[in-house]
Amino acid sequence: MRSLIRWLLPVLLSFPAALSSQLSLSYEKYTLPNGLQVMLHEDHSLPLVSVNTYYHVGSGHEKPGRTGFAHLFEHLMFEGSANVPEGKFDEWLEAAGGNNNGSTNSDRTNYYQDAPSNALELAIFLEADRMGGLLATMTPATVDGQRDVVKNERRQSYENRPYGMADITISEKLFPPEHPYHWPTIGSMADLSAASYEDVVEFFRTYYAPNNASVVIAGDINPAKTRELVAKWFGPIAEGKPVPPIDPPVAFLSSEQRSIMEDKVQLPRLYMCWLTPAAFKPGDAEMDLLAGVLTGGKNSRLYKRLVYELQIAQDVSAGQGSQALGSYFEIEATAKAGHTLAEIEKVIQEEIDKLKTTPPEARELARTVNGFESSFLARLQGVGGFGGKADILNNYYTRTGNPDYLNEDFSRYIAISPVDITAAVQQYLRDDGRVVLSVVPEGKPELASPGKAGAK
């Protein structure tokens, strides 16, 4: 379920001396007696506010047989609560000039409401009402309604999209069946059908308590007044029980796992994936820079060879999918008509092998880090939405415990040298521990990459 791109670039940057003073977001943080973590950030440049909420639960907390539940639940959070009849969450917010969305991944579920600053109390009220009183209006019919919507989301984003099922297959092969990253966040159709109203009640009581959430309120706010509103609306919500920790088995690939999938596509596409260090653990940042060296820009190694020079691939991309319990690094490339995935894999393997013996040039890293710098600064412009300042603070808090982790994050990339990249490639991009998937047009398995055994 790696599906929608949420973070275009991991945070980063370069030219540390010049920038370090700007790579910071001011905030004040406190905890309500019921355990809710609250962070406030002021930005008075426009009359806008954002209320951004993270619940520290994602599809990684689901159980086999109930996959897709965290995400289905996210949808139900918009269907009304104790003092907000069904349909009114969106109507009242829009009538005040506001907008909202939510998203779920394997580790967490987040929500934002962006609104004009005069509607701050409404947004806080709406968020608090569903945190405290979601079950008051929930019925089996509400669950059925969103079950259909989510099934259509799955059809639209996976089943009816070219190559859309590849990521689901890859997760299943990277992580063992008992590991919570084995299944996709969107869930299986069978599990979505099986989700019951009783599951909703249990999930809400277990995970949607203030002590398992954090709220950032950012923008054109008066902090003292905002604290009063937070106390007024979130304060009365009862603390929940401690949330049970998850204890996943270790994911480890002891061999190369190759497979072929047929799809309704014109051109074959190759996916190569490795298990890599968890988000913010040693090695994670190296993988981000490696992705830049391999496929960031026209001069990157794989783009230059496969797409620009040889012209045997239509596209190539690589990325580190950073997650809390363990990440994966993925390279994918689509063959041009008349070319096979074996040709493509051969070039990718050559470039990986080169990096295992010879460090990249400093300029290759600088190009990537300098681009990170700009995109990092660009993200400090807006208050709301996914990726705005409220979301950045909450995301860093959730992942690292420090809302203003900008400079630390940045410093990781600055500290990486070319030999670190080589060491990381040696350690993580192992030939004998990876998943290689060929997606080929129906009836054309000969376009798949057979691997070394079958290579010419």
Partner: protein, 491 residues
């Protein structure tokens, strides 16, 4: 490099149209009132626009924003895909792509390396009526970045071998479009409304024959004619003042010369004559992509603000009627919406959704019900909600320098006055129910409308035909996009 997180969003942006939305809430829960009524919104104060002109006639418009040390520039020229000559569809977009394939003293790879190393980005585009180059840079690299930006505008190399590479990539994209339900639906829809001899009716990357036919001389000629300083405006937004902007642009753009070209008027396309259903077969499709629409109007219409409000109620926000009906009430879709493409000439109005295959006919009925229903007077509550939704988050368009540049670009392309930014909110809030009804009846008429369904004909053909909506045309994907090209083969 897109490190991806596994994220499933509640609402994804549906192509342009988008937002979905609204209505009809069952009020069985009792007339529960919103307990928190916001006070009056804070006034919006945007920095003003500053204008100046270089000696060669190049106009510049600046909006300062000193929040972060970044600068965005966008050079816009009049003229885009509408200028593609017969048989050379795709020339405007190809010219734009070729700008990035080497400029000044640098070849394609050297140019990309120089831009990337600065942490900057330079990207060229062509749209229907304009073409442009955007540049984004850290303030600390301003001069070096503007030098590279000017190089692609003034001194593109247009190497022949890069045209061959891009031609092959483009033919491959055309081949891949055969896999993509949305691309197929868009092509079928545009052709149904405008016909394939009108620029709005064809795909702006071209078809196989036109892509194969573009020569390097065509690219050079398009550039020489269209990319001239007297035909251009540079938008500057960011951490920069007028003197610094003038200085850096004078340093790099003064040698640019050329006159303002004259362009022919665009032929007026006739409105869709009757109600027609086009069913494009995509065997095995899990969903049907639906597009319903007709020719709408242009950006300079006096009906602009009523149209914005009307569309917000119909299909422009989450709580809009189409989204509430197709998604929230019936669960047929992940999201439904509608929108007007407002251009220099009348662009399309379209309503859209991807619906699960087995309810395709039911979904069409609901679509038509909402398209007819919007012609009745809307409620006060819907009107207020839509007006506030459009007006009160308007400031967010100016949060980032890239987004602000986009707002200014609209003024440039359509010749709109600078005071639009400061009058927008009041004009939206002044729209009445009667205005909404008037424009709904004027622009949305389900008796003359094209209905496109891209889906599994074996499963949906019979039930869609049984609706008796109008004439039905069965098409294959090849009928819509042309036969799948074989890139690399041929000339």
């Amino acid at each position: 490099m897109n490190p991806r997180t596994c994220s499933a969003l509640r609402v994804a942006a549906l192509c342009l149209l988008l937002a979905l939305l609204s209505t009809t809430v069952p009020s069985s829960a009792g007339a529960q009132e919103n307990p928190i009524i916001p006070g009056p919104p804070a006034p919006l104060k945007l920095p003003g626009l500053q204008h100046f002109e270089l000696g060669n006639g190049l106009r510049v418009v600046l909006m300062e924003n000193h929040k972060v040390p970044l600068v965005e520039m966008e050079m816009i020229v009049r003229g885009g895909s509408v200028l593609d000559p017969a048989g050379k569809t795709g020339l405007a977009t190809m010219t734009a792509e070729m700008l990035e394939e080497g400029a000044g003293t640098r070849n394609s790879l050297q140019y990309a390396d120089a831009v990337d190393f600065l942490g900057a980005s330079v990207s060229a585009y062509a749209s229907m009526h304009s073409s442009g180059v955007s540049m984004f840079t850290p303030l600390s690299k301003l001069d070096s970045s503007v030098a590279l930006f000017a190089d692609v505008v003034l001194h593109p190399a247009f190497p022949e071998q890069e045209l061959e590479r891009l031609r092959n990539e483009r033919l491959t994209s055309l081949l891949q479009a055969h896999d993509q339900p949305r691309a197929i639906a868009a092509a079928a829809f545009n052709a149904a409304l405008y016909g394939t001899s009108h620029p709005y009716g064809v795909t702006s990357i071209g078809d196989e024959s036109s892509i194969r036919g573009i020569r390097i001389e065509d690219v050079r000629g398009f550039h020489a004619r269209v990319y001239t300083p007297r035909n251009a405006t540079v938008i500057v937004v960011g951490d920069i003042g007028i003197e610094q902007a003038r200085g850096v642009l004078e340093r790099h753009f003064t040698t640019w010369s050329g006159d303002r070209p004259d362009f022919p008027d665009l032929a007026t396309a006739p409105q869709v004559a009757s109600r027609e259903v086009i069913l494009v077969d995509k065997p095995g499709a899990a969903q049907s992509e639906i597009r319903i629409g007709r020719i709408g109007t242009d950006r300079l219409t006096p009906d602009y603000y009523p149209l914005l409000v009307m569309n917000t109620i119909l299909g422009g926000s989450f709580s809009s009627r189409l989204n509430q009906n197709l998604r929230e009430k019936n669960g047929y879709s992940y999201g439904a919406g509608s929108g007007f493409d407002l251009r220099l000439a009348a662009g399309p109005f379209r309503a859209a959704a991807a619906v699960q295959t087995d309810v395709t006919d039911k979904a069409l009925v609901e679509f038509l019900k909402e398209l007819d229903g919007i012609g009745e007077l809307v409620s006060d509550e819907e009107l207020d909600r839509a007006r506030n939704y459009l007006a009160l988050l308007y400031p967010s368009n100016f949060e980032s320098i890239s987004s602000a540049a986009g707002q200014i670009a609209e003024l440039v392309v359509y010749g709109l006055p600078d005071d639009l930014f400061n009058t927008y909110v009041d004009r939206v809030l002044a729209v009445t129910k009667e205005d909404v009804q008037r424009v709904a009846r004027k622009y949305i008429d389900t008796r003359s409308i094209s209905i496109i369904v891209v889906g599994d004909r074996e499963k949906v053909g019979k039930s869609v035909s049984a609706l008796g909506l109008g004439t039905i045309r069965m098409m294959s994907i090849d009928d819509v996009l042309g036969p799948a090209p074989t890139p690399g083969v041929g000339q």
